[in-house]
């Protein structure tokens, strides 16, 4: 049951995509919440609205120094249009660093602002659509250190993106402050014979989700001795008690047979006596008891 609940929880998390425009509201941060997976969903329907917040798209980070536990980080999404082109800045993620419950830091309140596509980028994107080529993005693997180890790259066939505008769906898998992987794609399905279609609006409609690690589920009955999880009720144990029938059926069936046999025999006795008295079948009456009994059984 718990397993099912857990599964439901996960599925609802990933299935539900709020399209509510979330501004800088403070109660969204799940303060002190120890949720195994923190999914922050937000969408920025039109980038120009937010683009004034962070204008310089440089691969740098800013930390507001107001408090240790609640500092801001910024990292840049870069994209490449086609094979030959280099990666260039395409948008900025902002998030808050927070100390997590089990030590280390995690990100919360992720916000994303997309830069406008420039004219050359639009041209390049059109070319991608025509060639059915890949649109590639990348993020630094370490959000605190943009020039860090490596970039996580993701790509999608450009033709998957256009709907009304350009729909994108970004899932960022995190491990502490490191970005493990980014899943990038269209918001919905991408039909297989990809048709060439140009968007009516050349702006991105972004949905972002931040994902942390899930703890593997284990049925609590057995994990109490390993994980220290208490379960008070003994509901988990009682159902193991089998019913009387389930326990003793192997004795009961032979017993039933014996009883049935005895009953049959008992019923035969009077019948035999009756037939003996009537004398309707002398040759059988003369015969021994067992034979008579057999005959009776056969008649049945």
């Amino acid at each position: 049951m718990l397993l099912l609940l857990f599964a439901l929880l996960i599925s609802s998390n990933s299935a539900f995509q709020s399209d509510e425009l979330l501004l800088d509201d403070e109660e969204f941060g799940l303060e002190g919440g120890r949720s195994p997976s923190i999914d922050l969903t937000l969408s920025s329907p039109s980038p120009p609205i937010q683009s004034h917040v962070h204008i310089p798209p440089k691969p740098t980070r800013k930390r507001s120094l107001d408090s240790e536990s609640d500092s801001r980080v910024q990292f840049v999404l870069e994209h490449a249009l086609g094979d030959s082109s280099e990666f260039s800045a395409a948008g900025t993620f902002t998030a808050r660093l927070k100390a997590s419950a089990n030590g280390g830091q995690i990100l919360t309140k992720l916000r994303f602002s997309r830069n406008d596509l420039t004219a050359t980028e639009k041209e390049k994107f059109k070319k991608l659509l025509e060639d059915d080529d890949f649109y590639r993005i990348r993020l630094p693997s370490d959000v605190l250190n943009a020039s860090g180890r490596d970039y996580v790259i993701s790509s999608v066939k450009a033709r998957c993106l256009p709907k009304d505008g350009l729909e994108e769906h970004i899932i960022i898998h995190m491990e502490g402050v490191n970005i493990l992987a980014v899943s990038y794609g269209s918001h919905g399905a991408c039909q297989h014979p990809r048709k060439l279609r140009f968007p009516s609006k050349w702006s991105f409609n972004s949905h972002t989700i931040l994902k942390y690690n899930d703890q593997a589920p284990r049925t609590p009955t057995f994990s109490e001795d390993i994980g220290g999880v208490e379960i008070g009720d003994d509901e988990g144990v009682k159902p193991l008690e089998r019913s009387f029938w389930a326990k003793y059926w192997m004795y009961l069936i032979p017993l039933g047979l014996i009883v049935m046999n005895a009953v049959t025999q008992a019923m035969n006795m009077p019948e035999e006596q009756a037939s003996g008295a009537a004398g309707a079948q002398p040759q059988q009456a003369v015969g021994a008891g067992p034979r008579g009994q057999n005959a009776a059984v056969r008649r049945r």
Binding site: F134, A189, C190, G227
Partner: protein, 1021 residues
């Protein structure tokens, strides 16, 4: 007994199954995919549930062993051999091998008397025989010394020698040295010298050489003296000899002499007081002689000794007293050392000659053997040390081409009937086989290359054609009848023990199973295995015999290819429709050298004859081999070989293949795992290579995605994918309440397990708080992480198997101090709405829509963990032709056995108290641990020593799967995870069935006549 058996969706059939030897049963739960049908069979389900509360097993009766399984025992490439022929009733030789096996072999027939497989981390360094009854082995770099009883192989004693630093491992067993009624053994290991009692393995004394900084090369014990000489080198430039009292380990004498030239290689003893070594540049031979406690060095230029020699000089390790041998680029020279310390070249022989150690015949007489390779024969000559000029014995033995060159030789002498010396030689060949030569003949041979299988594939046998029946003429009718009478007797339990044995023999020898043609059920196949020696073997699945073997030219040592290793074995051509005239063939890919960037070697081998059809010499490097799901008009599979520069090379190199590939190249993706860096990368094909010369079979690739695991918290320890040829019967899974779940069936799922760096060591090296196991399911086309989950307090090693929509993996839980098996099943939510029958009929469903990896997957996962008692060496899963039959996990346990575990036991949907509907479905109540039922070991009484892998191949019969487990041993069997519901067993007694029918007919007539008569009587009354 009557059983109602399995019903599967395509044809729900019930039939009566009659046999009196049913090891209690199992009946599998149905996997119906049609909801409507679920209603119809509900009643029968109830019945099924009643029966399936019993646990499924594969138990086997004693007389069925060897009926459809075979087991072969091997030892591997022999490193050392010690003969023991005195006194013992049976003549035997004790060998140690590169697979870390110690075995005692019968000298007459080559059979294994006894054998011990030490683990892969317990490498055997030296073996010897002590006291004439113990086999002494030194292993693990001289830190473990064991004595085994020679006749039966029981361990007598074991000593752990804890050295302070790693060093050479040396073992000296003096022939006749007595110290206080004890015969000590001298061992040098871990920079310490030990004297160990050969009776009980107790350490008598220990002398530590750590402080001296000496690297001891030889331990010598001159006959009759009670002084051990340890000869070694300090700082590569100073010779040191230590004389040590055998009684108490006291240092008697120490002498040293420095040699500024430095030395390379080993110091070789010539006699008890003379040694020879080479200087660092391999140009000067240094003769070291000890006289009255002084070391005297004599230098001789190799070029002075052997005119025209050109570098690469090596002293061969053969110990020939008074002489030694050096090998140069072109030849081997035997050099005699005179008493005055002069070096004389005695003879030069060809470079391919292999030399044995010297063997003392009688006092002062010593002999050694030389083997020279000729054209399809080898020449063995035995020479006496004091008289090199003539051969004491010269024999020529015909030798199979496919065995390659001789690698090693060990000789032994015996007294002939005419009281002269006879010699027998044990030779190790290039293909790792072991042969015994005596009197110019091969007395026996062992294909021990099969102990190191690295890749397995299968091939169909040829179709039986009319008129050219391969099988023998059927036995006469009388024989046939006799056989059936015997069988009948057996079933009616009337047979005498002799007759039972006869029945068993008939059964095992049934020519049916070892025929060389394709059979209707697909049980007869060729197992094609590639061994570490670069030899390809074809084994018949019926009886395990070697049909052909071929030493691949491309994987032999040559000037272009100095260090060849086999890598992969793929099916190259699988004739089906248009190309039935061609024989199937396999592709072997190897690498010349140890580094990833070494050039690769390829061969295409005919699967029926073993002939090498093509042989592509050193080419580009190969990191990965990808078998593409396309084939050309001659049914040749397209393969992509990825080189170290991430270029893709297409094979076969035909314009047709290039055209097919160009057409499909847009949908070709692959990934690489950089385990050290912790990065997964995905690639796609871009354009043709630009290497100066136009090459239409080479393609540039581009990086499409990457996943970077943070090096401070995660390290990749295991990656597993689905088997490429796996068949999934149905996408839907009917669960309780007639609900349907859709499996997320994708060929592109990759399972990745990572652990925290601290926990990547052996179990126990990290605390539960430090260790974290994280498992990921990654889509290899887009690089999406479909599922990610962590097990805290757990660590590797992780063994996993991925099949259909589930992955099962095994790891260690540090908190519970137990091994665990976990399962993840992944389901597709986007198809979950297709439940309405009406919609299905109208066609408003998306079940037939093409699936694109670029669509955002809506998946949901279920998972559960169970404790498992054993640690595991390999995990595999059964596979059947259509994927209908339920699956069993095949778990290679630490005891080298293979356990079959029903997949139902690791169902994540198991709950503590399943509902009635779930029970009907066959869901088992949740338990803490997975049961290990002794009857479900498919290897029954056998052990597959050194188990490394388990391969499963579907037979044509849906219920059956062929299982091949390999390690040092080979084991093959046939499994029916849901019992053979689609055929009668082979030992089904048709005669008994006929007899029963006849008896019934007779009984009907008799009773009819009787009842007629009774009726008549009744009427007359």
């Amino acid at each position: 007994m009557i059983y109602c058996s399995n019903h599967d969706p395509p044809a729900p059939l019930f039939f009566l199954y009659s046999s009196q030897r049913n090891p209690a049963t199992d009946l599998e739960q149905p996997k119906s995919n049609l909801i409507a049908m679920a209603m119809a069979i509900k009643l029968s389900l109830l019945l099924l549930f009643f029966l399936s509360s019993l646990i499924p097993t594969f138990s086997l009766f004693e007389d069925q062993v060897g009926f459809m399984d075979w087991h072969q025992r091997y030892i591997g490439k022999v490193k050392h051999a010690v003969f023991h022929t005195q006194k013992a009733g049976r003549k035997r030789v004790v060998v140690s091998t590169e697979e870390n096996v110690i075995a005692s072999l019968d000298l007459r027939r080559g059979e294994i008397f006894w054998r011990h497989v030490l683990g892969s981390n317990d490498v055997v360094d030296k073996i010897d025989i002590a006291l004439g009854k113990y086999v002494i082995t030194l292993s693990s770099e001289g830190s473990i010394l064991r004595a085994w009883n020679l006749p039966d192989g029981q361990m007598v004693w074991e000593s752990f020698l804890s050295g302070s630093k790693s060093s050479k491992a040396l073992l000296t067993v003096p022939a006749n040295l007595k110290v206080d009624l004890d015969s000590p053994i001298f061992v040098y290991g871990g920079a310490c010298l030990y004297a160990i009692s050969s009776i009980d393995g107790e350490i008598l004394w220990k002398k530590d050489f750590t402080a001296e900084g000496i690297d001891v090369h030889q331990l010598l014990l001159p006959d009759g003296s009670d002084v051990v000489h340890a000869v070694g080198v300090t700082d590569l430039s100073q010779f040191d000899t230590y004389e040590i009292n055998v009684r108490n380990g006291g240092l008697l004498k120490h002498a040293s002499a420095s040699f500024p030239g430095g030395i390379s290689g080993e110091i070789l003893p010539i006699s008890s007081d003379k040694f020879v070594a080479l200087d660092a540049r391999s140009s000067i031979l240094v003769l070291i002689s000890m006289k009255e406690g002084q070391i005297d060095l004599q230098q001789t230029h190799v070029s002075d000794l052997i005119h025209g020699s050109s570098g690469n000089t090596v002293i061969l390790p053969s110990k020939l007293s008074g002489i030694f041998s050096i090998s140069t680029d072109t030849f081997i020279a035997f050099i005699k050392v005179t008493n005055e310390g002069k070096l004389d070249v005695m003879q030069k022989v060809d470079k391919m000659v292999v030399v044995s150690d010297a063997l003392s015949l009688s006092e002062g007489e010593q002999a050694f053997a030389l083997v020279q390779h000729g054209d399809s024969k080898i020449h063995l000559s035995v020479r006496l040390v004091h008289d090199m000029s003539s051969n004491h014995l010269k024999e020529t033995v015909k030798m199979d081409h496919e065995r390659g060159y001789v690698h090693k030789i060990f000789i032994n002498n015996y007294v002939r009937t005419d009281r002269s010396h006879g010699f027998r030689a044990l030779i190790v060949m290039e293909d790792h086989s072991l042969l015994l030569l005596q009197q110019g003949e091969i007395v026996w041979s062992r294909d021990d290359g099969l102990a190191s299988v690295i890749a397995v594939t299968t091939s169909e046998l040829p179709v039986e054609k009319l008129g050219v029946s391969v099988s023998k003429v059927e036995r006469s009718l009388f024989e046939w009848l006799k056989g059936h009478m015997l069988k009948l007797k057996g079933t009616l339990m009337l047979a005498t023990p002799d007759e039972v044995a006869a029945i068993q023999k008939i059964r095992l020898q049934s020519s049916e199973k070892s025929k060389m043609t394709r059979d209707h059920n697909g049980f007869r196949r060729l197992l094609i295995v590639l061994t570490r020696a670069g030899k390809l073997f074809a084994l018949h699945t019926g009886d395990g015999r070697v049909v052909w073997s071929s030493l691949l030219q491309s994987l032999r040592k040559s000037d272009q290819c100095t260090d060849p290793t086999g890598l992969k074995l793929h099916q190259w051509q699988i004739p089906h429709h248009h190309a039935l005239d061609n024989n199937p063939s396999v592709l072997v890919v190897g690498r010349c050298g140890l580094s990833l960037s070494a050039s690769s070697a390829m061969s295409i081998v005919d699967a029926y004859t073993g002939k090498e059809l093509h042989n592509m010499g050193p080419a580009h490097s190969t990191v990965q081999v990808i078998s593409l799901p396309f084939s050309d008009s001659t049914e040749q599979q397209l393969h992509l070989l990825i080189d170290a520069d991430k270029r893709a090379h297409l094979y076969p190199r035909t314009p047709e293949a290039a055209e097919i590939f160009q057409r499909e190249s847009e949908n070709v993706y692959w990934y690489s795992v950089e385990a050290e860096a912790g990065i997964l990368r995905g690639y796609g094909v871009k354009s043709s290579c630009n290497l100066g010369v136009p090459n239409e079979y080479c393609f540039e690739t581009r990086n499409l995605w990457s996943i970077v695991f943070p090096s401070e918290s995660e390290r990749i320890i295991a990656t597993v994918t689905r088997k490429a040829n796996e068949v999934v019967h149905t996408q839907a899974k009917v669960i309780a309440d007639e609900d349907v779940m859709y499996k997320y069936v994708s060929k592109n799922i990759l399972f990745v397990a990572t652990v925290s760096p601290k926990a990547s060591g052996p179990i126990g090296s990290a605390t539960p708080d430090e260790s974290l196991l994280v498992v990921h399911l990654v889509d290899t086309v887009t690089g999406r992480i479909l599922h990610r989950m962590s097990h805290s307090g757990s660590q590797g090693p992780v063994h996993a198997v991925l099949s259909e929509n589930w992955v099962v993996y095994h790891y260690f839980n540090l908190r519970a101090h137990k091994y665990e098996i976990s399962v993840i099943e992944i389901y597709d939510q986007s198809r979950a709405e297709n439940k309405d029958v009406l919609k299905l009929i109208v066609g408003k469903h998306n079940l037939t829509a093409p699936v694109s990896s670029y669509s955002r997957p809506e998946v949901t996962t279920r998972s559960q963990s169970y404790f498992f008692t054993h640690s595991v060496k390999a995990i595999s899963v059964t596979s059947t032709a259509k994927g209908i039959t339920s699956k069993h996990l095949l778990i290679g346990t630490i005891g080298d056995k293979v356990l079959a575990l029903d997949k139902r036991f690791v169902d994540p949907r198991r709950s503590l108290n399943p509902t009635q509907a779930e029970k009907e479905e066959g869901l088992l109540p949740l338990t803490d641990a997975l049961p290990i039922i002794p009857q479900s070991y498919i290897t029954h009484a056998f052990k597959v020593e050194g188990l490394r892998g388990i391969e499963t191949v579907p037979a044509k019969l849906e219920s059956t799967t062929l299982v091949f487990a390999y390690g040092v041993d080979l084991f093959f069997t046939r499994l029916a995870p849901s019992r053979t519901y689609d055929s009668l067993t082979e030992d089904f007694n048709y005669a008994l069935l006929l007899l029963t029918i006849v008896a019934l007919v007779v009984a009907i007539f008799v009773t009819w006549v009787l009842s007629e008569r009774k009726d008549l009587q009744d009427k007359w009354r």
